[in-house]
Amino acid sequence: MIDFKKNTLDNGLTVISHYDNSSPFISFNLLYKVGARNENPEKTGFAHLFEHLMFGGTEAVPDIDGWVQKTGGSFNAFTNNDYTNYYFQLPKQNIETAFWLDSDRMKSLAFTPKSLDVQRSVVIEEFKQRYLNQPYGDLWLLMRPLAYKKHPYLWATIGKELSHIEQAEMEDVKDFFFSYYAPNNAILTVVGDISHQKVMELSQKWFADIERRNIRAAAYEMDATQTEKRTLTVEKDVPHNVLLMAFHMSDRYSRRYDVANMISDILSNGESSRFHQRLVKEKKLFSAVSAYILGSLDAGLFVVKANLLDNINMDNAEAAIWEELNLMRNSLVDDYEMEKVKNRLESMLIFEDMNLLNKAMELAYFEMIGDAALINKQVGLIRSFTPAELKEEAKLLFQEKNCSVLYYLSKKASDQAS
């Protein structure tokens, strides 16, 4: 049970705190409800580029990292398709510095052309390092536009292409800031050896004078229901073949989301899972095969990813996966297997609770999707699922017409075969 307190400032900033004295650090987490899905389709990669610029300093505090270093702490951030999350871990005696620095960069922006130039270049290198210069690095750059046709999930957080980042202008930066970075579009969580009263006092002191801003309403379209199987085949200079399948699933706000998540655990969480036992060890088709959900807020994807062993034919591989998916559709998971997966998930949650920053991030996340109190309902939710419910969900998910498949083939493997 995570005991937290929540208040909202007059300007709309939500502030949540949770007391935990097990660490000499306090975790400070500020979530902005803006991500790559809010980008202009012609200017993608922007939310993430913007996150980089937030470390470039402001007029009042040109050297933000210098101040963090003086505290002896650390800070960082990440961006995904739905939101952007900034966090500090500072020694508890210096936690006020986080309030100061994050309120300062919420208040104003003063990015220099130099900072924009450099961060454009840094992000381009990040693009290369993570997506272009890695074997299989572009899997998702290929899958997203196959599975999505209209919704902005069709591009990755890093952006559709390098040119979008190269062309980012100062005007875009300003526009983005004033459209999304505002107290009324943010959630602050603080976890550590600090009272709620103190957290509210500091929040009031540093954030209260920032004005509410008009948040640009989401203007993107949802995809129409997929009606037939989509496939894409590519051949690359990689060592082995990969099969990537994606099925449309519910949005984050539905119970169906968590049921789908549990199906992915039945299939591939842990060495005793069905995929590992039957496809890796018994049938010896794959070196690894996993099922997982993407975890997005709008209607998301249920994913199966398999690395084929050299002698395995792609059709047989796909058929074997379908056999497992059909088993989920056609028969009930037995009680032992249900219990096993539930126990494992519950244990995972207990271990995750040891980490203060993790708790701070989770509280902010659950508040974003409706209510921070959901954090304490996860175990009950997991425990409540029935075999019948899983079967029903599997029937909805695992249909050929709901599936996009990427055949990512090794040039070498096909050379050898011919």
């Binding site: 097990s22 660490s23 000499p24 650090f25 990292d65 210098g66 101040w67 270093q69 003086k70 505290t71 002896g72 702490g73 650390s74 020694p91 005696q93 210096n94 006020e96 510095t97 100061w100 450099v118 961060q119 454009r120 840094v122 381009i124 290198e125 990040e126 290369k128 390092q129 993570r130 210069n133 890695q134 074997p135 299989y136 540093w206 200079d237 990689v238 060592p239 082995h240 842990g270 060495e271 005793s272 890796v280 060890k281 010896k284 070196s287 690894a288 690395n307 062993l309 032992y336 096993k340 997966v341 126990n343 494992r344 998930l345 244990s347 995972m348 207990i350 271990f351 609770d353 980490n355």
Partner: protein
């Protein structure tokens, strides 16, 4: 306008020390008592790493196959039981050790331990499981050979230690054909016994579980059956300079550069840690500020000074756009030359000192970090006074003294630089 918050320097680090126990057969157990959740992490550390193996992959296959079937349980029964209890089992090897770990809830500790006992004492190493693991490893091996990061890293360690030293030896695809199940059985017999292990625990109230550990692992039923002598290897360093592993289609080059350091005293080692901090040890470091924040050559660059059993290493690593490869190497050298020729500015030194103290604080943040910090000391034959001396040294560093140390150890002409990728003008 509010005043800028006051910042306190970290001067007091609360060290929660590991408590020592001994099982009836002499196995040492070290335990951190911390945390509020009813959980426990337990590690068995065997001297059974790369250093001990006679063939490539012998240590790692032995270690990873332990859980794949025992005299009493099949591989799938073991997996099922662990998963049912929500126990997370892990195994890993490094240069000098093989580790078997499990993280479990208190209520499943005894049952988990029973399985772990069987895994450690009674593995059966079947051809079937070995073949599966081998195919998995071959695939990973081939993927790694396409990554500039692993190509440059392999080259770098070869340059520093030579091809016959375990730190520098590089395996090839053919080596997978040279290893057999009998090698694993043999390796297990020689190294996985009660005279070659110590145990670490971290979590709430570990003392409660010592009697259980003693019951399962404290007897004389798994003693050494033969005497295995320690092995020694000579280091053969390549000449300083730049070495290119060419990859024509690379979009980035991976650079690994550095040297072996031979600090004459602990004080010198501490000074090297500090110099490294300033050079490439944190976000505000000179390398990061220059190559990333000023020039945009890279997503990240960092350096580390690390004490290993056989050598103290200085290692710089980064990935840069191929078109920036030349300039990046130049800047890496230039920054090192500045470190050796110019006194560090007081303000910069103050910042790095504070960051380093903060980093020490993170070493003791939570039970798992605390046991890791203990293990670092134990493996290098140090005790907790090491951290106290380090904290004192940090507080006392001066620009003058650091400059002397830099001159003594960090000459750029000694750099071994491995580049995987391409030079493009």
């Amino acid at each position: 306008m509010n005043n800028i918050p006051e910042i306190q320097i970290i001067d007091n680090i609360n060290i929660n020390e590991a408590k020592a126990f001994e099982l009836d057969n002499g196995i040492k157990v070290f335990a951190i008592d911390a945390g509020s959740q009813d959980i426990m992490r337990t590690d068995f550390i065997f001297k059974a790493g790369v250093w001990q193996q006679e063939k490539f992959f012998q240590a790692s296959f032995t270690n990873s196959l332990l859980r794949e079937g025992t005299k009493n349980y099949t591989a799938s029964e073991i997996s099922s039981k662990f998963d049912f209890m929500g126990t997370f089992f892990g195994s890993d090897i490094d240069k000098h050790a093989a580790t078997i770990s499990f993280y479990s809830l208190h209520k499943f500790y005894e049952q988990s331990l029973e399985l772990v006992e069987d895994i450690i004492k009674n593995p059966i190493f079947t051809e079937h499981e070995f073949a599966i693991k081998k195919q998995q490893r071959i695939q990973k091996f081939k993927v790694a050979k396409q990554k500039v990061e692993s190509l440059s890293s392999d080259k770098y360690f070869e340059l520093l230690f030579g091809t016959s030293h375990p730190y520098g030896k590089k395996s090839e695809l053919e080596d997978f054909e040279k290893i057999a199940v009998s090698d694993l059985i043999n390796f297990h017999k020689r190294f996985y016994h009660s005279d070659n292990v110590y145990i670490l625990m971290a979590g709430k109230n570990p003392e409660k579980f010592i009697p259980m550990l003693n019951l399962k692992f404290g007897k004389t039923d798994w003693k050494a059956t033969e005497n295995v002598p320690d092995r020694h290897f000579a280091i053969e360093q390549a000449a300083a300079g730049e070495y290119l592993v060419k990859k024509d289609d690379a979009k980035q080059s991976a650079i690994r550069a550095g040297m072996i350091l031979k600090p004459e005293s602990t004080q010198d080692f501490f000074s090297l840690l500090m110099l490294n901090m300033i050079y490439g040890g944190y976000f505000g470091s000179r390398l990061m500020q220059n190559l990333r924040e000023d020039k945009g050559y890279t997503y990240g660059i960092s350096s580390v000074v690390r004490e290993e059993k056989e050598a103290t290493l200085f290692l710089i690593h980064t990935n840069v756009g191929v078109e920036y490869t030349k300039n990046s190497i130049q800047e890496i050298k230039k920054e090192l030359e500045i470190l050796v020729n110019e006194k560090i500015d007081e303000e910069e030194l103050d910042m790095a000192k504070r960051q380093m103290l903060g980093d020490i604080l993170t070493l003791f943040d939570g039970p798992f970090a605390q046991i890791d910090a203990f293990q670092y000391l134990y493996d290098l034959n140090k005790d907790y006074s090491y951290y106290l001396s380090l904290i004192k040294a940090i507080q006392e560093f001066t620009p003058e003294a650091l400059l002397e140390t830099a001159k003594k150890y960090l000459q750029s002409k000694n750099l071994r630089i491995a580049i995987a990728g391409n030079f493009v003008d």
